[in-house]
Symmetry: C2
Subunit: 186 residues, 2 copies
DNA sequence: GCGTTGTTGATATGATATAACGCATGGATC
DNA sequence: GATCCATGCGTTATATCATATCAACAACGC
């Protein structure tokens, strides 16, 4: 299947990763929203997730791994109950805590992100790489892309520092139009 | 009464406003978290709100105005149901839509902000001034401050633009420690 | 084996948010 | 004045998001 990838990875010190260079998400930033076979990306992320979790001493149990797979398959921000429906249909528990716990675990491990504007979760497409992404949410087609935001964080830290405020975690989310919907509107 | 003001206003082209210069929120950024008599700020904001709404053709009805007053009085981020309790106690409707509609109106008019991380709303302390603030949320004492974020938005716009994404609205929220709690922790 | 820890599943509840309907008001139009 | 229409309000009901608590069970170290 062909998807539009919600991944945006820049080649560079902060975002580089080590898998095959034919990964569409590892090309130029301008290619982030372009259509490509997402199966490769998903498979790559899963493999890296296995390694990262083992390395941290945590356990990527069946439910947790399945939730990550679902997020990768669906390839969009999903509500906890959306995930739960999928789990229930596959014989896992169908109670909210099952989904919330798995999602919380994935977020803690850096394998997924929480999109507060949507009350939803999305798989991180470059786990293990230090990053604090900004999320770009298209109001027309609902695609969610992760954008490198080192400069944004830096500006935020500076603004907070002027007031004596110490930033520990931050949320940067933008609502607007993706390239495709932007063209369509014009 | 003495409050800590959740307002941070900088004297400068983007944030200046025209009322009396003894407003604590109009002093140096470093004074943003300091204690002061908030009644002056609240009164000033209400007066400006009246003017702004009239100017835009909208109507600041009793319920809407009362919600703004409540937000200003409480001087913190409030959940919709907190506001609703206050309204109900004063004889207004006690159903969720009453509060949500008024809050939505205030946000649309730029008289209040929605803080997604807290699922809450706070009065804007400098309505009418072009601004897209970042919110600084203390994880210890829950104070919420509005910080000027022009540089942050600029960086975000630039990051999005590199991907062809057009930002229309954005959410920038930081969780951390306010100056007081930071000192206390040290 | 056996206690300890962590994971899962179930029940129940709490918290946040919106859909849909009908009525009242107030201004524009006839 | 009567009619129409747009707007706001109140209500019922429902949808969506999230957590507290307990019981069963599995993995692990001893
Ligand atoms: Zn990839
Ligand atoms: Zn789009
Ligand atoms: Zn004040
Ligand atoms: Zn504090």
């Amino acid at each position: 299947m062909i998807y539009v990838c919600n991944t945006i990875t820049r080649q560079g010190a902060d975002m580089a990763h080590d898998h095959a260079s034919d990964c569409p998400s590892c090309q130029e930033p301008a290619a982030a929203f372009s259509r490509h076979d997402h199966a490769h990306c998903a498979q790559d992320v899963l493999e890296r997730a296995d390694g990262l979790v083992a390395q941290s001493g945590a356990r990527l149990t069946p439910v947790r791994r399945r939730v990550l797979e679902i997020l990768l398959e669906e390839h969009r921000a999903m509500g906890a109950y959306d995930v739960l429906k999928r789990l229930a249909a596959e014989g896992y528990g169908n109670q909210p805590p099952v989904a919330y716990r798995a999602l919380e675990f994935l977020v803690e491990q850096g394998l997924a992100h929480r999109i507060r504007r949507l009350n939803a979760f999305a798989a991180c497409m470059h786990p293990g790489e230090a990053h604090a992404p900004a999320f770009l949410i298209c109001r027309n087609c609902n695609i969610v892309a992760e954008a490198p935001a080192a400069a944004v964080r830096k500006a935020l830290d500076a603004a907070a520092d002027m007031l004596g405020f110490l930033v520990e975690r931050s949320t940067v989310e933008a609502l607007g139009l993706c390239p495709a919907c932007r063209d369509q509107a014009a």
